[in-house]
């Protein structure tokens, strides 16, 4: 494990001791396409994992299987030895427009998942207040989602995912529908929240820069059937900011990931 931490770009030894999510012998096919076959992986506790790989290799499928949105054909996914149904988790969809509830005010969207936890009213209020404070939200949460900009809507989605204080947070290409300026802003919001809440976070991204910028660990997947092409650790101290993108360590890791990616894409 230390090896992986120290030298960017080496395949890590899986360390079950600190594993939060264990994936064993996972198999999934869609019709003819074998997406996963005998896939093993461990996701480390309280670290930020980015998943990156060629188009259609099954990045989203992987987190959807972990989050229980899709059933694997076979294999086992355990979170702290528990089934996903017994785990408190948050999930942020790519398409915030279709994931938020347009009939509820933004604040009620954020409160919605609390209905299914047994919490006293005061605690519910505190959680929402704390979250609003974390984010330093300047938007009027009494507005309906469709009255907000795309970035603000996705911010509401993320708050909705976080309000349950999840053990694991999943993000499926959360910023891909936003413009570049908003993407940069949202990355930093997400990073700040991660630093405050320190929870196991899994991000699927098709933007390598974003994947590395936010990550402690980067999982590079091969083409179908997906295998671990490489597992890279990026331990640049947080908070990272715009300058981090030109930091030599960032450049090295990005170069390495790009090499692996291109090697995988060119493979037949």
């Amino acid at each position: 494990m230390n090896d992986a931490r120290n030298s960017a770009g080496s395949v890590a030894e899986l360390a079950p001791a600190s594993a939060h999510i264990t994936i064993r012998n996972l198999a999934k096919r869609f019709g003819e396409a074998v997406v996963y076959d005998g896939f093993d992986f461990d996701i480390q506790r309280n670290r930020f994992l980015s998943i990156f790989g060629p188009n259609g290799c099954g990045k989203s499928t992987l987190i959807n299987m972990i989050a229980g949105l899709i059933n694997p054909d076979s294999g086992e996914i355990l979170i702290d030895g528990k089934n996903i149904r017994d785990v408190r988790f948050g999930y942020v969809f790519q398409n915030y427009r279709e994931a938020l509830f347009p009939w509820s005010r933004s604040i009620d969207n954020i409160r919605y998942p609390l209905k299914f936890l047994d919490l006293p009213r005061a605690e519910q209020r505190d959680r929402v207040d704390r979250l609003v404070e974390y984010f330093g939200v300047k938007i009027d949460l009494n507005r309906y989602p469709y009255e907000l900009s795309g970035g603000q809507q996705q911010l509401v989605s993320i708050m909705r995912a976080l309000v349950v204080e999840p053990e694991v947070l999943f993000l499926d290409e959360p910023f891909s529908a936003l413009d570049y300026e908003m993407t940069l802003f949202m990355r930093d919001q997400l990073q700040r929240v991660f630093m405050k809440m320190q929870m196991t976070t899994v991000l699927v991204s098709h933007d390598l820069e974003e994947a590395i910028y936010l990550a402690d660990d980067i999982l590079l997947l091969s083409r179908r059937p997906a295998r671990v092409a490489d597992f890279v650790t990026f331990d640049l101290e947080r908070a990272r900011h715009a300058d981090s993108l030109t930091d030599p360590r960032f450049v090295t890791v990005k170069g390495h990931c790009l090499d692996v990616f291109q090697r995988e894409v060119r493979k037949d």
């Binding site: 989050a67 999930y91 994931a99 509830f101 347009p102 009939w103 919605y112 209905k115 299914f116 349950v164």
Partner: protein, 249 residues
């Protein structure tokens, strides 16, 4: 000029054309009275004349029809829509009767329910309910998958997914059904009032005035029926805007 007032142009144009047709006598003046006479017939009919009574009877019948149709069709539509396989298995029957002119059902309903108001109301309900049923089912079936997933991911049990997401998702389409349904119900009620042993209602008044050659009164009844149809539609649109504020956003 403010865009809000643009519709006035069409109305003014229509009245001008009508007036012109009267002045140059394109049609026999007995068949086409001038617009002022028709307007006067509306006014006298609706203020103390018999037209008001007929109008209220038609409103009453159409209201019963749409209420009955909604009570039957909305829950049934939700039930059928929540299982696509269930809906597919009855889709042909629904589409078939939806395509059958409801007026063709009059004789059947007459045999069963007699010549009273029940027949008129029930045939109109029958027609309207199929339209509502079809729209509600599609509204439920086309609920955004992402939104349903989002609710599930947040831990909502199945029933809550239905009440918190699917029902609200289907509301815009339900209102489309209600608006089409009330238009159809009005058509059927008016036709029924014309031909099925009626003594009152706008349909009865139209045919009565025609037979007595009271042309201004006939036009008056036609316009009141038109205004009624428009008002029903507008009413549902206003309710929809108020309660389904997210529709189309």
């Amino acid at each position: 000029m403010n865009d809000r007032y643009l519709p006035i142009i069409g109305v003014a144009g229509f009245i001008a054309l009508w007036y012109l047709a009267v002045v140059v006598e394109i049609v026999d003046p007995v068949l086409l009275p001038d617009p002022v006479d028709a307007a006067r017939a509306v006014w006298t009919g609706m203020t103390g004349g018999s037209l008001l009574g007929d109008f209220l009877r038609t409103v009453e019948r159409t209201t019963y029809s749409i209420v009955i149709a909604a009570i039957v069709a909305i829950p049934l539509g939700i039930l059928l829509g929540s299982s696509e396989r269930l809906y597919r298995s009855v889709e042909f029957v629904i589409d078939f009767f939806r395509s059958t002119p409801a007026s063709a059902m009059f004789p059947l309903f007459l045999v069963i329910f007699g010549v009273g108001d029940e027949t008129k109301i029930l045939v109109a309900s029958f027609g309207a309910s199929l339209v509502i049923l079809f729209n509600v089912s599609y509204g439920v079936m086309n609920a955004r998958k992402t939104r349903i997933l989002a609710a599930k991911v947040m831990g909502a049990p199945r029933l809550r997914v239905l009440t918190d997401v699917v029902l609200l998702e289907s509301l815009p389409q339900t209102f489309v059904g209600l608006r089409n349904g009330v238009s159809l119900a009005l058509v059927i009620v008016i036709v029924a009032e014309m031909f099925i042993g009626s003594v009152d209602g706008l349909g009865h008044q139209v045919i009565d005035a025609q037979m007595l050659f009271e042309m201004p009164e006939m036009y008056a009844a036609i316009f009141v029926a038109g205004a009624l149809g428009y008002a029903f539609n507008l009413m549902f649109l206003i309710i929809e805007k108020r309660f389904v504020h997210w529709s189309g956003r």
